[in-house]
């Protein structure tokens, strides 16, 4: 075994970065797609190729069922939420367009928007409040002030766990002739997401965070009829190989090249598990998160960023201390106590600027499936000891 794979037992609280451990069913599905179903899906029609094709087909259906998507063809498998965000932004925006975006966005949104701004897309930022929550009224004012092609907002913050008013933003966008494009990386799996109810135009989701799938896979939902240009052209394996141009049908249009079948298989298995157990798992992780939040705000010198303790959140929070820098806290939690957390800016400098922590960073604790109340107590005890 590679030394890189040797780890010691730990309290894992970095679910906002990626969930761990993955459910055994997910691991088995990944292995199955590399063994019995190891052919290239959507290409040949011999037994193993069809098995691989059916893995992708069934996984797409499971993800659609989980996310409330009526037609599974409207979900494209991509390499992750970053690719999904790039596709929905670059596929839908053109020079001269104006977009309105929240100040809490992750680099998966802000960097593609920066690149688009250099091409002539105008980016207007709506400031979130000091707890990281955006307000629909602020968006409404911004959208009404000038013609707007798209409203762009995360569903939940990867720094504070704040849940954004996506359904309200959909109404505002549509009443003003704009699209609503959502980064759902931190929401799916941790919230009961129903895209048919939310009425979003595009929704990007990570497969490996709250959805519990493997890394290297994500999904992009595009509402029926929305004509987003594809980022890549290439082989799609279907009945249009002789055509010079990329097929325009879904999902092939957005899936050029051999897909990540093992990742898709794992994500499909995870989606089926979440359909069966998601409500229970969400309740369990919220119980752990609530204990953690209540305990942290009682530690002298610790400031928990984000909404008030009793406000609904996805199970992610960040903190700073007036005793130790955040990198030291994260390092010592790992070294002394075997507690895995992440310090820094969490690929979200916009969010940290909003929260006033761009210069200091923060320590982020992300709770997820498998965490226990004992984990919360272990972290609280460690921080009390370190920061006393």
């Amino acid at each position: 075994m590679s030394d890189a794979l040797v780890t010691r037992p730990c309290v894992y609280l970095d679910h906002s970065a990626t969930s761990w451990p993955k459910p055994p069913e997910v691991v088995e599905a990944v292995v199955g797609a590399m063994t019995a179903g190891g052919a290239n899906p959507g290409r040949g029609a011999y037994a193993m190729a069809l098995a691989a094709s059916r893995i992708v087909f069934e996984s797409r259906r499971a993800c659609a069922d989980l996310l409330g998507v009526p037609d599974a063809r409207d979900l494209a498998f991509v390499s992750g939420c970053t690719e999904a965000c790039n596709l929905m932004l670059k596929g839908l925006l053109a020079p001269g367009d104006r977009v309105v975006v929240s100040s809490m966005e992750h680099n998966a949104i802000s960097r593609p928007l920066h690149a688009l701004s250099l091409l002539g897309v105008r980016v207007d930022v709506v400031q979130a409040d000091e707890t990281g929550r955006v307000h629909a009224d602020d968006f409404e004012r911004a959208v009404r002030s000038e013609a707007t092609r798209a409203v762009i907002c995360q569903h939940a913050s990867n720094v504070t766990g704040s849940i954004q008013p996506v359904a309200d933003l959909a109404d505002i966008a549509h009443e003003n002739g704009a699209l609503l494009l959502v980064d759902g990386a931190q929401a799916v799996g941790h919230l009961d997401v129903d895209l048919a109810v939310l009425q979003v135009d595009a929704y990007a989701a990570s497969g490996h965070k709250g959805l519990l799938g493997p890394q290297g896979v994500g999904v992009l939902y595009l509402r029926p009829g929305l004509d987003a240009a594809e980022l890549l052209q290439g082989g799609t394996g279907g009945g249009s190989s002789e055509e010079e141009s990329q097929p325009q049908g879904r999902p092939e249009r957005y899936e050029a090249g051999t897909p990540n079948t093992p990742g898709i298989a794992g994500l499909g298995a995870a989606a089926r598990l979440l359909i069966a157990h998601g409500a229970q798992w969400r309740a369990e992780e919220q119980a752990v998160f609530a204990r953690l939040r209540r305990g942290l705000v009682a530690i002298p010198g610790v400031t928990v960023l984000g909404p008030a303790v009793d406000e609904p959140c996805v199970p992610t929070l960040s903190l700073v201390s007036d005793r130790l820098d955040v990198d030291r806290i994260a390092f010592e939690l790992d070294r002394r106590y075997g507690i895995a957390v992440r310090s820094g800016l969490h690929c979200a400098p916009w969010a940290h600027r909003t929260l006033g922590t761009l210069e200091t960073g923060a320590v982020r604790l992300g709770v997820g499936r498998g965490n226990t109340l004992d984990d919360a107590e272990a972290v609280l005890a460690a921080l009390r000891e370190m920061l006393a």
């Binding site: 959507g42 029609a45 094709s53 087909f57 063809r73 279907g238 009945g239 249009s240 092939e252």
Partner: protein, 80 residues
């Protein structure tokens, strides 16, 4: 008297996803179905098509219409 070669009907679809969705719907509708490489007779050289027995054609059409998966094309082909 030689009854002649057995024949089958091949249905083509817009995508592999649609072909597998058709397979799934037909199986659920108790129509015997086999996924096959798209035959040249459908005007395609790649992808997946659906094969059924001629006597199941009417039942298959009804199932596919209910499922919102009308075939992009069909061909009756001699088996070997």
């Amino acid at each position: 008297m030689n009854p002649g070669p057995r024949r089958f009907i091949a249905y083509g679809f817009a995508s592999v996803h649609d072909a597998l969705a058709a397979e799934s719907a037909l199986e659920a509708g108790d129509v015997r179905v086999t996924a096959i490489p798209s035959p040249r007779a459908l005007g395609e050289l790649c992808g997946v098509a659906i094969r059924i027995a001629p006597e199941d054609a009417e039942a298959a059409k009804a199932v596919l219409a209910r499922a919102g998966l009308p075939p992009r094309g069909s061909a009756e082909i001699d088996d070997i």
